[in-house]
Amino acid sequence: MKHLIFSKRHLFFLSIVLIQVMTHAWANSVVWSCSRSEPKQTIFEGIRAFHIEKLTVKDEDTISITLMDLYAAYGGEVIQMGKTKLSVCRLPAHDPLQVNALELLGYNSDDLLKASKRSTSSLIEIPSMHEMHKCLSENHPAIGFFQNVVENERIAPCF
């Protein structure tokens, strides 16, 4: 059947459109995740990208942040991405997962609450992890976290 024959390019796009939730999870850890812009054919050039302080981001459409940005963003500082502000998706400050994520950065719930009150803060509170994917997708450029690696057309691990 002719319509089921895909070119390599089609297969490539299909592979990134399919949501791949890898099973590898880290106990007591989180995977910092970054949003991606809408995939466009023109920006894929088969680039095997390297990034400063980053790794394994294969496509040009994923935002690039540094580790310093991650610390600063959850501390309530504004991170500029070109002329756009980076959004930060977060759970309620006392949610155990959020507390765990904060501990990785050396923060606690009070720090997060304080950061959220800053007038310039880009922290967006979501009620549960079910909303994380939506938050990242709808607020591009944005960062957040998952318990597992999530890599699809809208999200990829940051580091």
Partner: protein, 373 residues
């Protein structure tokens, strides 16, 4: 009635004594502020951070050592790098270079530069400048590098569009004095190459490994950041044979949780991290770097700030240390480092997640530097 008590006028002797006291206080203050080393370099003492490399009081040897910084470019105007930069090169290939072609202009992309849809945070722009300052900062505003007499060779391979492996390979070749097609020869071959970049694949590709082997044969030390992948294995170029891979420690000599975790990591040193809940002056746990900040009206200012976090900043501490060691004897080779590494290490607590890791932290003293001469 208001009583007033008038002090008698001081005698000339008292005035002289007072003036001397003022001068003494001023002198002490000035000396302290002029030579205050960043915490990660502090000499051994009761209040020294446990992870300090203890080089602050060391005088570099008579040889100026060239260290290539393969990175996002360097802001040559930064006062903390005045007098330490050599003519570098922009190795970003033409198709991805907003300036159109490779050239000797090693400055980073302009502020707010974009690459089609790609969004990159502003901190990438200053990355190379920050790295260079940790190696050879000249002391401006207390921005001391490990070896202020080292010479920095800036080589740009990363811009808003990201980076290509081919550019990294050409940059390593050029930095170590090997020929690169279409690029003028490097008149200042580097003894040390610092690559605070990671993100290739989990096994070192053949072309990259061959390039590193060639650089080593030319006598060049290749130092690479282990990566900030939160305790996952090393990626390129840190996982290539012969590369000195550098993980990050807190000021308290503990492996930072963002650092890659891999038994192949050569050495650990201060990389900064979360603020420590201690009362010591190094509680901030960030590395001092030459960088930029925006003023009230959004203009970029060249500043020095305690904000460095990441293995990107641990690697130049090792590169700076190597340059200090080589400044006494520039004939030393990468193999000498490997055979004498035990002189330069202290034990670092292991992490349960890596049972076969034997983490070692960088430390020096006059004694260890001289024993290795």
């Amino acid at each position: 009635m208001v009583q007033t008590h008038l002090n008698p006028l001081p005698s000339t002797t008292e005035r002289v004594v007072h003036l001397c006291r003022l001068l003494l206080v001023w002198g002490i203050y000035n000396a302290a502020s002029a030579h205050a080393a960043p915490w990660h370099l502090e000499s051994a003492g009761p209040n020294t951070p446990p992870a300090s490399i203890e080089t602050a009081a060391m005088t570099p040897g008579s040889h100026a050592i060239t260290v290539a910084v393969i990175d996002s470019g360097v802001i040559a105007e930064h006062p903390a790098l005045k007098g330490v930069l050599l003519p570098g090169f922009d190795m970003v290939a033409g198709s991805r270079n907003s300036r159109g072609e490779r050239s000797p202009n090693f400055a980073p992309d302009p502020k707010d530069a974009t690459c089609r849809q790609k969004l990159v945070s502003a901190s990438f722009r200053t990355h190379g400048t920050e790295v260079a300052s940790l190696i050879a900062g000249n002391g401006y505003d207390n921005m001391w590098g490990v070896n202020p007499r080292a010479q920095i060779l800036p080589v740009r391979i990363f811009n808003t569009c990201g980076m290509l492996l081919e550019d990294m390979i050409d940059a390593i070749r050029w930095s170590s004095g090997l020929p690169v097609a279409g690029v003028p020869n490097n008149p200042h071959p580097a003894k040390i190459i610092n690559i605070s970049i990671t993100g290739g694949v989990l096994s070192c590709r053949t072309d990259l490994q061959k390039t590193i082997d060639a650089a080593r044969r030319a006598g060049t030390f290749v130092v690479a950041a282990a990566g900030n992948n939160f305790q996952r294995p090393l990626a390129e170029p840190a996982n290539c044979e012969g590369v000195i891979s550098v993980g990050a420690l807190s000021a308290e000599n503990k492996i930072e949780n963002y650092s890659a975790l891999d038994a192949r990591t050569t050495i650990y040193t201060t990389g900064g991290g979360p603020t420590l809940r201690v009362s010591q002056p190094w509680a901030n746990n960030k590395l001092r770097v030459a960088t930029t900040e925006l003023n009230m009206v959004g203009n970029e200012q060249l500043v020095v700030a305690d904000k460095g976090i990441g293995t990107s900043f641990a690697a130049p501490v090792v590169s700076g240390f190597l340059s200090l060691w080589l400044s006494y004897n520039p004939q030393l080779k990468p193999q000498d480092w490997e055979s004498q590494l035990d002189f330069f290490v202290r034990q670092v607590p292991r992490l349960e997640k890596c049972a076969d890791c034997n983490p070692r932290g960088l430390v020096a003293s006059d004694l260890t530097i001289r024993r290795s001469k």
